[in-house]
Symmetry: C2
Subunit: 232 residues, 2 copies
DNA sequence: AAGTTGTAAAAACTCGATATTTTCAGGTGT
DNA sequence: ACACCTGAAAATATCGAGTTTTTACAACTT
């Protein structure tokens, strides 16, 4: 029996543990939840201290975030948190509707039992998490929405959807608590999308998904001024 | 009159001159024209010598290319040129058709004289360059296609189209000289797209553009094996 | 007062060296 | 023969210092 002891001692870190990756994850989170205001200068040295790491990982992380469009880079002049605007928000909303519609339809078309089970699970985890913990819920919420799409068998499309989803989260946090005031049954909307997906009714699922986005979108648009800041 | 002398003394370097940017441009070019084979390991130290620069710029450039999906990164294990496959090529082709269709229609909808003139100019430059110099023509060719789209007033969409276009160039170079054997009048196709755009006929322009892509796509597909390598 | 120029501080960028991790070849025991 | 361990070599990732560029501000000119 001895010869299998070492077998799987370590769980094989699927999550990268490099300083660069940690800096990337931390900075991404900070930008999404609004710890930096749009356009704010991101000084290497400051971040280096905050994240307790070297300048190289910080720079690399910021470079990666640049391509996610969460950070803007000006040559020889450093990095800033990406600017926001109502136009940008509406562009993202429109693209999201378009691309997620496409991805969802492909997902449904490829639908199998395994996907169905992943969906149910992702939905359950989201529901169970509840709204108590904003950040944790946000993560489950994203996981559910991405699970709807990830059967589309199109990695590039998924990457785009992922990116756009993140950009949207940021606007949601910018609008802040006001979002709670919506008179909508979000839980019901999610359940209805799930149901349509399980029924393999692509048209219905896509319509419900897009309505879901557009309603939140319309609500958010009213809340934001031209620069994407909360109105009052 | 003196008070305007200094007005625009320096052309204000629009082209960034940092080592990172130069490394990025050089590596992007090398990957697009196929100087690295798909999946090839990109060793920092080797590239450092080839590009005659430090390790930091090389790493940052590779990070940026990662987000362009031209380079893949494996944590603690360095960078590789992105893999290719027929599936990937076809995914890119499909997305391109979809997104460029959308962008072109928006461009036409926003069409004005200035855009029309930019189009004519971009087309002329492409024609004038001729096929003598592959790389130069490639640049003009891209400029023309992007000019068709860039009036869509949607920066994020443009970024996606740009990225997909680059990914496609790479497959075009992979297929190599064989592409010349096509029995098609490419110049005519371009002229027809241009004409439809100038006429503000969005449906016709979009149809012609997509046919243009799908024809090249079908030709390329036949030429590539499952791993995206030339068949013979 | 408005604008220009010069200088000092700050920040970004780059480099070379060090530390950490991975890879690979050779040896050992089953 | 096969898997497993071991240790040297190679490559990556990270750090800290040095260089270059930008920014801020004050003094000077018109």
């Amino acid at each position: 029996m001895d010869h299998i002891t070492k077998q799987a001692a370590e769980p094989l870190p699927v999550t990268p543990s490099s300083a660069t990756h940690k800096a990337y994850a931390a900075l991404r989170r900070m930008i999404l939840i609004g710890e930096f205001s749009p356009g704010e200068k991101l000084k290497i040295d400051t971040l280096r201290k905050v994240l307790d790491t070297g300048a190289s990982p910080v720079r690399e992380a910021l470079s990666l975030l640049t391509s996610d469009q969460l950070v803007e880079r000006i040559d020889q002049r450093g990095f800033r948190a990406a600017a926001t605007s109502k136009a940008n928000f509406e562009e993202i909303l429109g693209l999201r509707c378009h691309l997620e519609d496409m991805a969802l339809r492909k997902s449904v078309a490829n639908g199998d039992d395994a996907w169905e089970e992943r969906l149910v699970l992702a939905h359950h985890r989201m529901v169970r998490e509840g709204r108590d913990n904003d950040e944790a819920f946000e993560e489950r919420h994203k996981a559910f929405h991405m699970a709807l799409l990830d059967n589309c068998d199109s990695p590039v499309l998924m990457k785009f959807c992922n990116q756009l989803y993140d950009l949207n989260i940021r606007y949601r946090y910018l609008a802040g608590r006001a979002l709670g005031y919506q008179k909508r049954d979000i839980a019901r909307e999610h359940a209805d999308i799930l149901a349509a997906a399980i029924e393999r009714d692509a048209d219905l699922a896509a319509r419900r998904l897009i309505d879901h986005y557009r309603q939140t979108g319309a609500f958010l648009t009213d809340l934001l001024d031209d620069n994407g800041q909360p109105r009052d």
